[in-house]
Subunit: 215 residues, 2 copies
């Protein structure tokens, strides 16, 4: 945000997020990043101070962008009844399926985060409070409203992880799932089947946990 050609920095960031997400940090060389960004290798040292610091800058960039998406004015009015909350939760899961499974390459931001979720570190420390925790919190609130459980209950938090984790798993295990299902790829038809399965799990979990039908 100073002078000259300020979009080289930005181009490097976008290129790094993309390549780190696709192949991983270690498998991506600074040369590839510079080439992808149509920039010079030494621009990385100049703008960020090295490959490691570029990774952190990617985390900042991703966290900031995801937080902005997550905080945008709600598409739906705030749910008030358990039924509305259940519907909002289904919508949330559908959106996640759309975001993670629909696009062939999946949004670069998501893929970058998915890689870093698997390993504790500074990147996770950065993305967690700004995006992951608030997003999970919102899902927990919906779940609590839908079932009558306490929003801070560990059981609710784990249940939400289970549901969201299913989507993440189908993304990560895509190759395995395709082989086992006899699919060539995740096409629209396949994604609908997966979404139906996960939404079904969500519905029965909500139904059997709801106050009244409690065990």
């Amino acid at each position: 945000m100073a002078a000259g050609k300020p979009d080289t920095r930005q181009a490097l960031l976008k290129a790094a997020v993309k390549l780190f997400g696709e192949a991983g940090f270690d498998a991506t060389s600074t040369r590839e990043i510079a080439r992808e960004a149509n920039a010079n290798i030494s621009a990385i040292s100049y703008h960020f101070g090295g490959k490691d610091k570029l990774r952190l800058a990617c985390a900042e960039y991703v966290a900031e962008r995801l937080a902005r998406v997550a905080a945008r004015p709600q598409d739906q009015p705030q749910p008030r009844t358990p039924q509305q909350a259940a519907i909002a939760l289904e919508k949330l899961v559908s959106n996640l399926v759309e975001a993670l499974l629909s696009q062939p390459g999946a949004p670069e931001l998501a893929q970058f985060v998915l890689r870093e979720i698997a390993r504790p570190g500074e990147v996770l420390d950065l993305v967690f409070p700004r995006f992951l925790a608030p997003a999970h919190q919102r899902a927990c609130d919906l779940w609590a409203l839908a079932t009558g459980e306490g929003p801070e209950s560990p059981a609710v938090r784990l249940a939400v992880f289970s549901i969201l984790g299913q989507v993440v798993y189908f993304r990560l295990g895509q190759a395995l799932v395709c082989k086992r299902m006899g699919w060539n790829e995740f096409g629209p038809e396949q994604i609908r089947a997966i979404e139906d399965s996960i939404l079904g799990n969500l519905r029965v979990a909500l139904a059997t946990t709801s106050k009244g039908s409690e065990q």
Copy 2:
């Protein structure tokens, strides 16, 4: 299985599986592997023909060992009734939780496979038919028996992926889950909570899918 000191090859395999599982293929150098195995760097070329072929040899090794574990005489008699099948499925999930979450480092074999599951390639091609597909098939058979659905039905296969995927997710997302739950680690108490949650999901899914209570 020839002459000399046949356990250098074995030591290299075990070291490579461990390090590839911990840090990933790209982040692990042949020098580290040799050091971990108390062997010489050039032993890798001699025994396997290079780093890439060592990776494949790891896949063979892992597939063979996992297949042996999976094929060992059933602890339980073959389930005959839906109730027995449901119990056997719960046991299967418990075992997976135990295998993936209990040990701090998780069995090296599992961690190696988890890394490779995320990316299509020769390793997956090797481990899939020898272990992953049969294991998934067995779970599908149990599910079908427990619910009355067809064992080859896509819905059953996806449902089984959903359940097993939850366990995988809690392993991969361990750091994230800990942060969000306010845990320091996956201790016995925490693992029990996770297992309860997943088993609960399994039970309600089986119950609501069973013939008779079908929607």
